[in-house]
Amino acid sequence: MTPRSLAKPRSPAQPQQRLDWRALLRDAEVKPVRVLLSVGAGTMALGSAVGLAAVAAWMIAKAAGMPSPAELGLAAVAVRFFGIARGLFRYLERLVSHETALGGVVALRTRTYEGVARTGASRVLGLRRGDIVARMGGDIDAMGDAVVRSLIPLGVAGTVSLLSIAITTAYLPVAGATLAGCLVAAAVLSGLMTWRSARTAAHAGTAAAARVSTATLEAIDGAAEHRVWGTSGAAADELRAADLDAEDAAELSARPAAWAAASLQAAQGAALVLALWLAVSAARHAGLPPTDTAVVTLLPLAAFEAVSAVPAAVQQAFRSAVAARRVQAMVGGAEPEGAMARGAVEGAPGLAASDAPVPATAPLRLEGLSAAWPGMLPTVPVTATIEPGGALGIVGRTGIGKTTLLLTIAGALAPAQGKALVGGAPVGPDTVGRVVAMTPEDAHLFGTTLLENLRVADGAVTEHQARAALEAVQLGPWLDSLPAGLDTRLGSGGNTVSGGERRRLLLARAVLCPAPIHLIDEPAEHLDADGIDALRALVAAMRRQGKSVVIVTHDLGILDVVDRVVSLDGS
């Protein structure tokens, strides 16, 4: 819409906010025919309003000349037809366009899911659950909305405007030209102003909204502490200041929005004044017939309805573009710089090949392995060998890089230094999950049955195996207390089980996982006695199967659970 301002974005952090329609329609698998069909139905709907106005004007003017009633017959039928057609075609248009958009959303969501599943393990494992749900939920819906609320209304605005211009031009070409001018001015001015408003809102508004969120969160979560330290007033003042910020930002974006609305009204008014002036003058001095005069004068009253959808359509295009960019950033073709580039693990032979059979057991060897996200201080080098059936504990204080090291051992992140070898071959993206599986501290419990949740580890798990795994982590009595047993449904996110039960379920899942090596990331809080018992049970169960376990925690309580403990705290 604004090529010049788009060509030079304000800051590198704010790249182009233009929607890539072609990519969107391709990814959403939207057939052009469906879009054309929707625009066609929309044109019939709003075209009916224009038609009704034109034929009614013609009929009134004709009737004023007192002809025989038969001469009005056809016009009367047409007026009634348009009266019905408008609602009918609008209904059809909404059905077709929504079906198209919803289909597009399904395609986009599947595609994004595949993209996320395919993308670098370090990226996926680093994503927060709330972010994934927001991107895959609301953002993809917003991309689908681009079709219904932007593309189709813009198309209809174009066709209906052309129709109005054509009708007017047929009767009085000069009035057709002025109507065209006013319609174009309405679309362009209101579109540009809306675009500016949306951009301001995205720049200033987003920052202000973030400040408001932080201030709200801080006032509520810290309420008790504010009472203790007598700082409640300061928290309220901060929220007030954040709100004032938000009001200022809203004010900035409201100004062009008001001009957008005003420019639409002005263009419509100008079209009416000009049409009346031209048509009545032509009737007086150039013999324009009464019927033609009436049509030319009254048409502008109906012709602007389609164009008045432009601001909302532009706003939606902007919103969809922002959503598309966020989704793109999540799938993000490239790994974060340096994450995979360093260790040359990409083409690692042996176990890394995805079609290679996974051995039931394998030794894990860490040779001076240290891990780091790009730009972070690497962890102290770790050298250790874990034979099948062994258990290694890695302890270290918070923030020292325990989880980073775990991701590196899994093969999701290239080592900063040293090597992690499974059965003599280096780990890499292809070993993640298959050879070296992992249970992150916020691992997901799915909103399905207990049994299906355990089958997440291995689709072939039998009821007997599932029961044994639950007993192994001392959930046997709990299982017996459930009326539906293994068929008990768990809530999404596992919020129908207690924290302790959740951790044990995740450990039972780890027991069932066929990968020869399993990494467990323990939550940051202290483990209570039950938590330590569950870990001990896990290690025993894994040992029986000849599988190896690596547990990271900052709790020294696991010392007697594992064979050996490595500390990351250095000296």
């Binding site: 007192m66 007026v79 009266g83 502490e225 008014g269």
Partner: protein, 529 residues
């Protein structure tokens, strides 16, 4: 859903002023629309009439627009003026709408946050706090479309629509009768359609939500599947669920759009009937062309605000729901701890006791803690011990005067004089205590720090505060070996210097340093299932 929440008008100043101003602007809009229609009819009628017009077709309304306006030279400047006035009204309305909308949201947000902070730490910790944050940020932002789009149209529907109906009656009673007869059909049919389709659309909606939740569940688990090497399979399932969800949605949309269909059909068809009737009456000479033109131009304006109200109804429903949620928070009574303005004392050298204290969990099924009695003496470190979730943190809240127990009492003994929390000024009580929770909040700058750093900073503040009573929740969590022992040493040092110190913990290091250890246990509430 009520069109205007009376609580919004009653309690939020900017909302009340905005509604009044918008109503006034609505009347202005109505008058500009009226003048525009009358002027266009005046100017157009002479060239459509087969013979020169002899009488005033606008009847009593003709007084508003002189006959001289039939000449372009006189009429056009007036029309330009009316058009400019309409543009100005639209601009002003839009500016006011945005400004009022953001102010209302700010005021409501600040009121709700202020109220929520008084609801007590356990109400906030039970997940209500997170709900409040969502409601007052993203939720209330949904009120903007309500103020900017919906409310003005509602005002137009209650000003323009009746005014235009009266005007049409003044011009031509037969057309007015047609409009007056069809107008009530609009809400009637919409209610009928709503009633007929309610059950079906509810079941569709439920199916939609179920499928949507399952898809999001599958998606939320991507990292987990990836970590177990099982990420490839579910893509097909995502598509399958998506398609099922799409079909369910379409089923509900087919019904939901019916009301829109009825609305458009009735309003457009009525205008068509008015036009056709006028046409045939013109032939018979029963109505003047000037009248017919004015009615033809005004008839759609009667229905337009109604149609727009329908269009913007859904966009503002979320905001209304959020406002409703906000008011329901405001209407919850805040728990009272102590007696405001009650006893105030200096707690230096105080013994602080819980006597047989029980606090019910939010679901009311358990007491956590249940019947705990502990006396923390000055000069000693008292430790509360017990498994997670048994009420150690809640016991600390009671000691800090942040929470009134359901049973038992909290008593401070200063120089042989006993003060019960119920008789004390809770704020003054709380300010005698340096309380540090499990995850201390340190404001925006605290969010940049790691948990451990935040912990250290919060303890720095508490240990140097000079307050006589120190209450610590899991002081050594998130800390590494050396920092842990240093912190325990400092805590013990302050106790030796005369402070009354209580710590909830299961860290052996802290327990070993304690002068007294009290076990905290929960218990099921008798009679609760």
């Amino acid at each position: 859903m009520k069109p205007i929440d009376p609580r919004l008008i009653a309690r939020i100043g900017p909302a009340r002023r905005y509604v009044i101003v918008t109503a006034a602007l609505g009347f202005l809009t109505a008058f500009t629309i009226l003048f525009q229609a009358l002027l266009v009819s005046r100017m157009l009628a002479p060239v459509l009439a087969p013979a020169p017009l002899t009488e005033d077709g606008l009847g009593p309304l003709g007084l508003l627009v002189p006959l001289g306006a039939r000449e372009l030279a006189q009429g056009l400047p007036w029309l330009v003026l009316v058009v400019v006035a309409r543009v100005v009204v639209v601009w002003v309305q839009e500016r006011l709408a945005h400004r009022a909308g953001t102010r209302v949201v700010s005021q409501l947000r600040e009121a709700v946050v202020a109220h929520a902070t008084g609801m007590g730490p356990r109400w906030i910790a039970s997940g209500k706090g997170a709900e409040v944050v969502t409601t007052v940020t993203r939720g209330l932002d949904g009120l903007l479309p309500y103020f900017v789009r919906y409310l003005p149209q509602l005002m137009l529907a209650s000003t323009v629509t009746p005014l235009m109906l009266v005007v049409v009656l003044g011009l031509d009673w037969l057309s007015a009768l047609i409009v007056a007869l069809t107008l009530p059909l609009v809400p009637l049919f919409m209610i009928l359609v709503g009633l007929v389709t309610r059950d079906r659309s509810r079941s569709h909606l439920e199916a939609m939500e179920r499928l949507g939740a399952r898809t999001l569940d599958l998606i939320a688990g991507v990292p987990t599947l990836r970590a177990l090497g099982r990420e490839r399979g579910p893509a097909a399932r995502v598509r399958e669920l998506g398609t099922a969800s799409k079909n369910a949605t379409m089923g509900s949309l087919r019904i939901a759009f019916l009301s829109g269909f009825v609305l458009e059909l009735l309003t457009t068809l009525s205008v068509a009937i008015v036009a056709v009737t006028l046409g045939f009456r013109l032939i018979d000479g029963n109505v003047s062309i000037e009248t017919a033109l004015a009615v033809l131009i005004l008839a759609p304006e009667v229905y337009l605000p109604l149609r727009n109200v329908g269009t913007h109804f859904h966009a503002s429903a979320d905001g209304i729901a959020a406002a409703d949620a906000a008011f329901s928070i405001l209407e919850q009574p805040t728990p009272v701890v102590g007696t405001p303005g009650g006893a105030v004392a200096d707690f230096v050298g105080a013994t602080v006791c819980l006597a047989d204290v029980s606090v019910a969990t939010p679901d009311g099924a358990r007491h956590a803690p249940a019947s705990v009695s502990v006396c923390a003496k000055p000069g000693e470190l008292t430790v509360l011990r017990g498994p997670n979730g048994e009420g150690k943190s809640t016991a600390l809240l009671a000691l800090a005067g942040l929470l009134a127990p359901d049973h038992g009492s909290v008593i401070a003994t200063v120089a042989g004089h006993q003060i019960d929390l119920t008789d004390a000024d809770a704020d003054a009580w709380t300010r005698q205590c340096a309380w540090v929770p499990q995850r201390p909040e340190l404001g925006p700058e605290g969010r940049e720090l790691s948990l451990g750093q935040r912990q250290l900073k919060a303890y720095e503040r508490a240990l140097t505060s000079g307050r006589p009573v120190l209450l610590f929740d899991e002081p050594t969590a998130h800390l590494d070996g050396e920092a842990r022992s240093q912190l325990v040493q400092r805590i013990v040092g302050l106790a030796r210097a005369g402070a009354t110190v209580v710590a909830a913990t299961h860290d052996p290091l802290v327990i070993d340093a304690a002068d007294a250890v009290v076990e905290v246990r929960a218990a099921a509430v008798r009679g609760a299932s």
